[in-house]
Symmetry: C2
Amino acid sequence: MSTSTDRDLSRAIREWSEIVSADHVVTDPTSLGAASTATFATSARLPLILRPADRQQVQACLRVANAHRVAVYPISTGRNWGYGSRVPAADGSVLLDLSRMNRIVDFSEDLAYVTVEPGVTQQQLFDFLRANRSRLWMDATGARPDCSLIGNTMERGFGHTPYGDHFAHVCGFEVVLPGGECIETGFSRFARASTGPLYRWGLGPTLDGLFTQSNFGIVTRMSIWLMPAPEHFEAFFFRCDDERGLGDVLDALRWLRLNGTMRSAAHIGNDYKVLNGIGQYPWERTSGTTPLRPELMAGLRKELRFGAWNGSGGLYGTRAQVREARRLMRQALRGKVAKLQFLSERKLDLASRFARPYGLITGWDISAALELVRPVFSLLKGVPTEAPMASSYWRKRTPPPADMDPDRDRCGLLWCAPVAPLEARHGERLTRLSIDTLLAHGFEPMLSLSLVTDRALTCVVSICYDRDVPGEDDRAMRCYRELLDRLTASGYHSYRLGIQSSAEMADNDAYAALLATLKRALDPNEILAPGRYGIG
Amino acid sequence: MSTSTDRDLSRAIREWSEIVSADHVVTDPTSLGAASTATFATSARLPLILRPADRQQVQACLRVANAHRVAVYPISTGRNWGYGSRVPAADGSVLLDLSRMNRIVDFSEDLAYVTVEPGVTQQQLFDFLRANRSRLWMDATGARPDCSLIGNTMERGFGHTPYGDHFAHVCGFEVVLPGGECIETGFSRFARASTGPLYRWGLGPTLDGLFTQSNFGIVTRMSIWLMPAPEHFEAFFFRCDDERGLGDVLDALRWLRLNGTMRSAAHIGNDYKVLNGIGQYPWERTSGTTPLRPELMAGLRKELRFGAWNGSGGLYGTRAQVREARRLMRQALRGKVAKLQFLSERKLDLASRFARPYGLITGWDISAALELVRPVFSLLKGVPTEAPMASSYWRKRTPPPADMDPDRDRCGLLWCAPVAPLEARHGERLTRLSIDTLLAHGFEPMLSLSLVTDRALTCVVSICYDRDVPGEDDRAMRCYRELLDRLTASGYHSYRLGIQSSAEMADNDAYAALLATLKRALDPNEILAPGRYGIG
């Protein structure tokens, strides 16, 4: 880690002010306090925020950082909730906020791609496509519409459409290296190349992967592939009432993915996850106690008509292709799930219009379940949605405000995202282990399984709590650490880590030595995001 | 480049002999001569060949190479025809032949992958799957059945099935670094990981790409994803009689790829490529002159009933999925191609049985065209085939021997493989430019376009000649260089380069500086494949 002094920092600030102008050097305590607050306890102090306007300013800022040995921590829009929000991995790092760089710099309807800067959000791209009357769909994550596309891809996040594995559908990075030099990856390295945004691997070693989940460079531009809107789209939903039924479902879905029938990243949420999506913690039903016990959860499942496991996904294609996919899906899931349903746009409209509000139980409205379907339906079509955001207010005693901000509102949220083979026994073991660990620590085990690829599943485990409850930060972190330890000991390593656990990466093996060698070569002064993913 | 002396080399040889045993240190002039012969003129001299038996021996060999500063050049099976065969990029490098490391070390029918060493060939994997009564298909390239799977993937080669983009369908590399350390990539870096062969990106920076088309490490193990055999398979074939018809076809095929109908890497060969696939140069028809003029080619097309452009590919799925794909394909290609035909296994058998031998013209047999279909049909099902091999004997005056060896038999072959956007105007410009250049230099322009990905096409241009014709090596190389220059000046950079052109990579820009920085960090003594892809 760099060892800058106050004097180094003062000098750097003077020079940075000249580069980005004083207006974009943020030092007021309110802003700094907000930016150093995450959805769990953190300790890193933030001396200032820099807001460069363009790539040249980023380069100049890094040169100053090197000259004075001051560490900087880049964020795109900084909505990395559950993993650390905007808070730097190392104490004393200057926040390099790239959200002003929000241009959409290239777009092709025919070749189906768009080129964006780090500040471009999901909503901005969605609006752009609509304004251009595009026939292309983007992929959206369940994160808020104002999340950065580049930021999510750098963390190798995922969404819900056939383009759900984000890092697999991007191309041609522009990268500012720690020393301030700028390169472009893939064929974009050649000034005249016609295929920069189109062909991923380029010529010579492929470097894109180097700049994801690391601190080897700042990606300031990236092309994202878009998907032509299919002639026909249908969402599918199913539930599995038996808690032990998950394994069979996973095996069936693996087959559907491997044979190309199911091209989208199907999701399966457990009962707790669904309840968390519908509303806040049922304080009345539990007489104010936590956690929500499995026995009560089983009762709520019946009342509210969802399953122990609840699946959703999309079918994309022509009418005939979707029809055949439906047939194959019914065949594969027969006897393994209840209520396999297919929902087209038209059906959804009808259902909403005629659905009577019924089934009121202690303040729970069954029509909320339909409202749970809408955002999923949207996400499956690549439409960003605000809806999942409210789930971080789960244990709060007051409803989520109109202007939600989990960091500010002291929502407690820790995400742990282990990956397992897409096989019955592994899916069952991973979920059992997660459920047991969370309940033992007094938290509701909210699990969301995503079949992002054909052979592996990612399980996002949410530890949701209220930071205003004394001691809860510590309890949640202890739960998180035990969960992470137990999962990795069982072979289920995380696809992504937040600042709460970057140190888990810092092994003492040949691989860690290789990362350290690369870091030394690329960032000899260790000024770029030291500590991120345990590197440097 | 390392500057080893004879004394360094002698010392190294002594130590290597202890590691791999003297039997596997090859120094006889015949073997060295064969290994330093490619399908074009090369100058690198080869002092010896080392044949390690396992990964530990590779590590020990590299440590010796470092101690004595002797450069080594790794090959898997060394069938890199058209790009340099086994010949090292730098003069004086020791050949590290990994072909003895030929174990299939892991296999899962359910999760559809196999883990192999560098010496495992296409045929070996195919036989293995058959012996295991596997329902999985591999992807095969048109290269010979005894080509290495790892070798091809390291060059980012491609095949014909939906898994045609090889580097996109592999996972978890075991890599010996230049210093002799061994790492594993992706989740395999963690000893207990359950998802090493299943989930590509792992945790932290993704490093796989670093080890392809480079000299940063030796991949000694890799998992390859396999495709479940579809319920139904049909090949499609079409021709386009109008030379100017290519553009419309490309636009139609892009649409079919982008919407997921055509999941395989369709190929389009021009007339010269098809003729080259059927037999040798028509010396009689041309009265012994070269090149084969376009006018005569046009005549042969009519006689032999193939098109100016000839497409093929596969449709995979259930019967209903394939039926719908056929419908969409007919719709998209209507009016743009002649003779769009779909061929199932059953139809192919029937056709072969009842096809009368007819249409004999100066030694050309139309039944040969059917024989051209068979290997394509096989490749589309992932069955490796010997057939395309004969095409390198094109300009030879004697027929290919039973035991073909283009290096030994002095077949001239230079491959140039530019990538272009999958768009009419680019496809037309790239092919026009290639055709004009080859004809101007007196060679037949044999072009094979592959739609390996949804947005870009790769065009393999073959310069086929007879190395026994005096001066032809030089003429071919001049043609190659002009072609490469003209293509890159137009923005069509190659997806891969052979030793004949690694220097084209060595630019003087920030990107080249980054590669040099990485090389210095990973291989400070520059002992691993110096000069490969212009690095180090």
